[in-house]
Structures are given as C-alpha cells and as structure tokens.
C-alpha cells in the first residue's frame, strides 16, 4: 500500500499568511499598536469603553436593584420564589424539552448532511448553503403566519389520521410543532457553525488519511470526524438550545405556554419575579456561552 502524506493540518483559527517561511523578527508586542500614539488614543478608547460599560451595565444593575428592593430593605425573595410561581415549572419543562428535541433534530439532520456534502458531494454545497441560509430572509413573525395557515389546514382535514397528527403536534404541554420550526430558524447558525468546523479542521484530509491507514468508515466517523468537529457541534447545539429558550414570537402568536411566553405574562402578577427571571435568563445564557467559548479555546490549544 502506498502511504500518502496529507497536507499538514492547521488548527482552525490560525490564518496562514501565504506560506511565509518564517515569521519576521516580530517583537513580542503586537505590531499593530503604535506606542507613539499612546496617550490620546488610549484616552479616547478608555472614554468609549467606560461609556459603553455604563450604558450596558447601568440598566442591568438598576434592574437588579429593582428585584432586591423590598419593603423592608434588600432581599433575595424574588429569586427564591421562582419555583413556587404558578405555571413556571410547567413552562420551563416544556421549553427545556423543546430545546433538547430541537438540538437533537438539528444535529441528526445537519451533521450527516454536512458530512455528505463535504466528503462526497462538494457540488451540492451551494444548494445546501442557500437552503440553510434562506430562513434569514423570512422574519419569524412572518413565517408564523404561514405556519398557522398550514396548521389550520391540517386541523380541519377530513382525514382523521391527519388531524390526529396535527393535534399531537400542537399539544399544549409539549408543542412539537415549535421544535420543528425552531430547527428551521436555527438552520443558518447551525450551517455556519458546522461549515466553519468542517473547513477549519480540514475534515476531508483527515478522512483520507484515516482511510489510507486502513480505517473503516464507522471508525473514521467515530474516531476522526466527530472529535474533530467537537467544538462546532457544541457551538451549533448551544445556539439551537439558547434560541429555543428565548424564542418568543412564534410561541406567543401560536399561543403555546413556553418559558418566554410565561415570562411575558408573569409581570402582571409579580413584576419583581419577572425582572429577576429576565436577568437570570441573560446571565445563564451568557454563562453557557462562556463555557462553550472556554471549551472551544481549550480544544484549540490542545492541537499542536
């Protein structure tokens, strides 16, 4: 058997500069920054960053004050009564399940598709790309009109089987139709994340190298491809999940009690609780994203 040495695999984030043989004697400092331009530029940058910090953190802090400001001094009561709030657990469970289902459908649909496109059908790439990015041009608030039309048609179908399926999709406690739509709405993000991962990790070369060494396809997929795509899978999964947890428009117009819909209504009975949950949802999403970024950074560093 002839051994084929593939092209060297570059880590996904490194942008090679046209095969420059050796770096210039670059000082340890970035070349882009000019010391001479120090004080004024640094001053204005400080001003901009300071104002931006105030602008973005100010409302958050004020809102936080709102949630802890009780009749008898500050208290965290608004945060402790979350789980006893009427309907919260149901709405949250529904949203969490929808999130997991959406992530599962997204990955099950897109990972094989993207692998097929990259490894076998590069010619199909433009079509898949266009189809994946299409949802960007239809605002959810418009798309939901069409969805309602389809649902209305299915609900009124003369065939019992059809209307039974549609009824199941619109179950109030777990509206699967939402999960199906959220997969579509997340599609542009999923596509970009997976596409970047597949290109960055040069999966085609890795697969050819593995096949050349005698590995079988299942082994190649499990041991080579999926590990190489770990970061972008994580990223795609996070985006789909966070999108489901925060999506309001479609759920509200189709009148399904997901977490965001419940959150919007909760203000009528408990304003503090609503704001507390709004803050928490932002904070949790942010924390999850930081974890994703940290994990991605670590895998990147682990590569030689």
């Amino acid at each position: 058997m002839v051994a084929v040495i593939g092209a060297p695999v570059a880590p996904s984030t490194v942008t090679p500069t046209a095969g420059a043989p050796a770096p210039t004697a670059a000082p340890p400092q970035s070349r882009g920054r000019v010391r001479r331009a120090g004080p004024p530029v640094r001053f204005w940058r400080g001003v901009v960053l300071g104002l931006a910090g105030l602008y973005f953190l100010g409302p958050v802090l004020v809102a936080f004050w709102f949630t802890v400001d009780g009749a008898d001094g500050p208290s965290l009561a608004a945060y402790t009564r979350i789980f006893t709030a009427t309907g919260f657990v149901d709405a949250m469970t529904s949203s969490l399940l929808l999130g997991l289902i959406s992530v599962a459908i997204t990955l099950a649909l897109m990972v094989p598709t993207m692998l097929l496109v990259h490894l076998r059908l590069p010619r199909a790439r433009p079509y898949v790309e266009v189809f994946s990015l299409l949802p960007l041009v239809i605002p959810p608030v418009a798309l939901v009109v069409g969805v309602r039309g389809v649902l209305g048609w299915g609900n009124g179908s003369e065939f019992v089987e059809v209307s039974a399926v549609f009824t199941a999709l619109q179950d109030k406690s777990l509206p699967l139709v939402l999960a199906l739509m959220y997969v579509v709405i997340a599609l542009p993000f999923t596509y970009r994340s997976l596409d970047a991962g597949l290109r960055g990790s040069k999966v085609t070369v890795l697969v050819e190298a593995a096949l050349n060494l005698g590995a079988r396809w299942p082994t190649v997929l499990w041991r080579v491809v999926l590990p190489a795509l770990r970061t972008s899978l994580l990223n795609a999964g996070f985006l789909a999940f966070a999108l489901v947890m925060g999506e309001y428009t479609i759920a509200k117009i189709l009148i399904f009690p997901t977490f965001p819909v419940w959150l919007a209504q909760s203000g009528a009975t408990d304003g503090q609780l609503q704001v507390a949950l709004a803050l928490l949802s932002l904070a949790v999403t942010w924390a999850l994203l930081l974890i994703v970024v940290a994990v991605a950074g670590r895998t990147r560093k682990a590569k030689p």
Binding site: L134, P140, A142, L143, V145, V150, K252, L263
Partner: protein, 295 residues
Amino acid sequence: MRSGTAARRARLPWSWFGLVPFFGYVSVFFLLPTAVIAYSAFRVRGEGGASTFGVANMSAALGGAYLDALWNSATMSLVCAVIAAVLGMVLAYAVATSRGGLLQKLVSTSAAVLANFGGLPLAFLFVAAIGNAGVLTVFVQERLGLSLRDDLGLDLYSRGGVQFVYLYFLIPLMVLVITPAIEGLRPEWREAAEGLGARGWQYWRHVAGPALLPHFLGSIALLFCTAFSSYATAEALTNGTLAITPLRIDGALSGNVLAGQENLGAALALSMIVVVVPLTLLYQLMQRRSSRWLQ
C-alpha cells in the same frame, strides 16, 4: 484506479439521496409555510363564502393604518439601525484595538447574548429601570419631583422608548458583525499610509474608510432588517398597541378580529418579506465583497 472511478460514478446518484432528508425538511417546514403566505395573501373571500384570487388583502395591507404601521416600522428601524451602526462601530473599534484578550472575550460573548437573545429580557430590564414603577422613575419622582414621562419626555412605552431598547440589542449586533471587518484592517495599511505621508484622517478617508464602507453599509441593512422584524420587545413593552407591522400581523391573526383577517395577516407578512429579502441579499453581497479585501 479504473474500477474506483466506475464505482464512484455508479455511486454518485445514490449519494444524492442522502440529501433528501435535508431538502425534505426545509421544504416542509420552511418552503411550505412561505408558499402559504404568498398564496393566502392573494386569496379573497367572495360573497358566497367561496375564496377567489384577488388583491384586496394586499391593497388593505398597503393602505390606511396598515401603511402607516409599515412606514412607522421602516422609519423606526432605519433610525435605530443608523444610530446603532455608528455607535457599534465606535465601540467595536475601541474593543478591537484594546489590549485585553479577556475584555474582548467578555465583550464578544455578552454582545452575542444581547444581540441574539436579548429582545424580551431587555424589555423587562427597562421596565424595572424606567417603567411606570421603575427604580429611576420612582427615584426621580420622589427626590426631584419630576416625572420621567411628562417632564423629561422619557416614555418607555412609546415609540421612542421602544427604539431606545432596540439599541440595546442592535449595538451589540453591530459589534458582532463589524468586528471581523475591523480586525481585517491590516496594520501594514496604516503604516504604509503613514510612511507615504498620510495623517490619521487621511488614512481613514482614503484607506480604512473605503475598505470598511461596504461592510458598514451592509451592516446597516442587516440591523434594519433585525429591527424591522423584531416583535418581542415592542409587544412586551406596549402590549401590542404600537403601530408597527409585526404587531399588526399579530393583531390580524388574533381571534378578536373579523374572519378573513387571517389573509390580511398573510398580506402584511408578505409586505415585510418584500422589504427584508432585498436588504438581506444586499448584506450578503456587501459582506462577500469586502471579505475579498479584509481577510
């Protein structure tokens, strides 16, 4: 070798079947609803209850109060998009040229959260801050004897208030989309320009400005579309009363209006799509164009 090519040729049509789930899914859950919008928008219920094709919905959607809503949506979104683009650009530049890797990571992650998932929570944050019973509202009322709304003209539940909140997710969005372009400005360009005798403003006027301009304009288009399509913030703040198209669609779909309004909703949705599609394409085009320059 020969058998390999033959095998590949034979396999080719089969591997295309692997794409059936993807195209099937997108067709059923995206193309079908979209087609339904276009179809319903031109269906008119006749006198005998039978539906026929007609433009009544469209002319209703493009006239009277609905036209005002569309106009409101467009002007609101344009103002927000331009302001957010300028401020976001300044912020992105300040962050991109700053030293701290940690700062950049914090900014990019929080920008991603606010831009993608901020619409609804932000509305409640501002209710807590400057809403009717908000902390600042009460503070100003009690300490200064002033009303935020009546004396200072700061009404969260008005068009201005909604725009104000829009900026809180549009500026982060701008930071997200323009940062790669700013990082694509090569330090060599500035140094080459300076070496040739250019002053700071000349560098921006002749080199960096033209290089960023397509991306900047494209970003305004993207920001416009985002604001234009945004539903959650305005709905949560004004309870659906603000005269903008997304809320009008909701109104048309909600049961409390006359039968046949469903198709009016489709016509409104179609009018939004007609606005959004070319602008999104413009964004993609501009981005592709400038990515040739800024890599």
